[in-house]
């Protein structure tokens, strides 16, 4: 009689179970190989998620950010970004993270009577000056890059 202290090990999988397991393993491993490679096709070089390029967060310094919105009456207003969103989001915006910049501009367009929103990141390094403008109702912000003046 078997001891109660022992239980049988997991049974050897049958041929069918092996084929199913093999298919899952193949798909899972393939996915893990392909996801980091997607970095090569990303338009945003600062987006290193799921790539294993680094085990630390982004260390790129944040640029100085300013934003304005244009109302239907033609009036332009400066936006105080730091009062609207958390500092971490401001860091993302300052690092030109496109998805966050787009979402921020879209969010400003939700206010009544806003025609256009513009955001400028002034960086002292090779990133230069980046201007983003979104015509409210549009899908994606237009980006202009200029070399830093200094």
């Amino acid at each position: 009689m078997a001891s109660v202290e022992t239980e049988p090990p997991p049974a050897q999988p049958s041929g069918k179970a092996r084929r199913r397991t093999g298919a899952f393993i193949g798909a899972f491993v393939l996915l893990q190989f392909l996801i980091p490679l997607s970095y090569l096709t990303r338009e945003d070089a600062g987006d290193e998620r799921f790539t294993w390029r680094s085990f630390t967060g982004s260390e790129a310094p944040s640029c100085e950010t300013s934003a304005t919105l244009e109302r239907a009456e033609g009036q332009r207003e400066a936006i105080s970004i730091e009062k609207l969103i958390h500092r971490d989001w401001l860091d993302y915006v300052g690092r030109n993270r496109r998805s966050v910049v787009n979402a921020f501009l879209q969010k400003q367009c939700e206010a009544e009577g806003v025609l256009q929103v513009e955001l400028v990141n002034h960086c002292d390094d090779e990133r230069g000056i980046r201007e983003y403008s979104l015509r409210c109702g549009g899908e994606r912000a237009h980006e202009t890059v200029r070399t830093a003046a200094r």
């Binding site: 202290e5 090990p9 899972f28 085990f55 630390t56 989001w89 998805s99």
Partner: protein
Amino acid sequence: MKALERYWFGDVALARPYLVLRFVLALLAFDTWLNMMPQGAKYGVGAFNVAHFPWFDGFVPSSAFYLGVLAFTGVLALSQALYRPHRIAIVLIAAGYTLGWACSLLDSVPYHYLLSLYLVCFVFFPMLSARAAFSRSDQAPRGSVAAYVLFCITTAIVYFYVAAWSAAEGQPYWLPMICCVGYLIISMQDRVELPALRMAAPLLVAAPLAFHFLAPQEGWLPMYMIGIALIVFAPVDWIHKLGRALTRPARSLVEERAEGGGIDERASQVFYLSLVGLVVAPMISMFVDLPGVKTGCTLTAIAMLFVMGRQLYFTPRLRPLWRVASLFGGCFALWITMTASNARFDYYREGALDADRRGDHDAAMMFREKADRYAP
């Protein structure tokens, strides 16, 4: 058997998947409470959010949602580490943990994605009891565990990419590449026909240890990876002895002897006691005083009820009570961790600083009052 099949379905010492699963679940619980929860005050600020994946766009997680998900995940993970894990619970932990980081770019810690991959592997691990993994004899039980091999391959792929990107940038890449090769071959070390690999294993472990001691890394990644490396690379005799020592209480107390089958007269007592336990355990979270945590712990109790299912009434043994005890253990651990650490203070202090900066004085005052209460 073909070579590839032998690689995936060959024997491994069952002690390894048993210990890896529990080690990662236990560490994950404390990681979520101590490192992720203090960041919770960032969530929902200004009703602005960008998720990791487009299908989450439009959803703005609040602080309470984020903390609730983390409390749920952590308590369930620790309860599964304390008592025999259940596959449904592992699925829920994987879903909860992934939801926790994926719902916002505010959590962009690289290794959280790795832990989600590990949790997917764990779903397919055998849910071993201490008795199954550590027999009374000195002979370590072995069995085919393809998911454990997949776990090692997942780790190898991470090191492969670390090496590849380093090589592309002209930096030294040999150390992560040795880690990659080590994880590719080490899952075969428990097979009797490969004694040479067993001899090399203690040397191969030096690579991941050196890498994680030397390279800059965020959060608790080095703790996870060093612990995993020690379990995966250590000689089977060591692992078996360590596991036997750690599980002695479980094997002597929890795993009571199987005496026949069928329902005995204890079943109804066990049923009512378990139900009472499931109601009482989440009440411990009332003392934690963080938004969403009560809901998270209540959901954990509901998940536990779901996990136990028919077992709750139809088991003739005390297994449901041990499950409820593990839930109590998880809730107590959360409470003690929050009381003994600065996590709660950090949450309220960060909230106060951010609210001050945004000029939201009412919120700042509320956060500051709580921060003062929990200041170390």
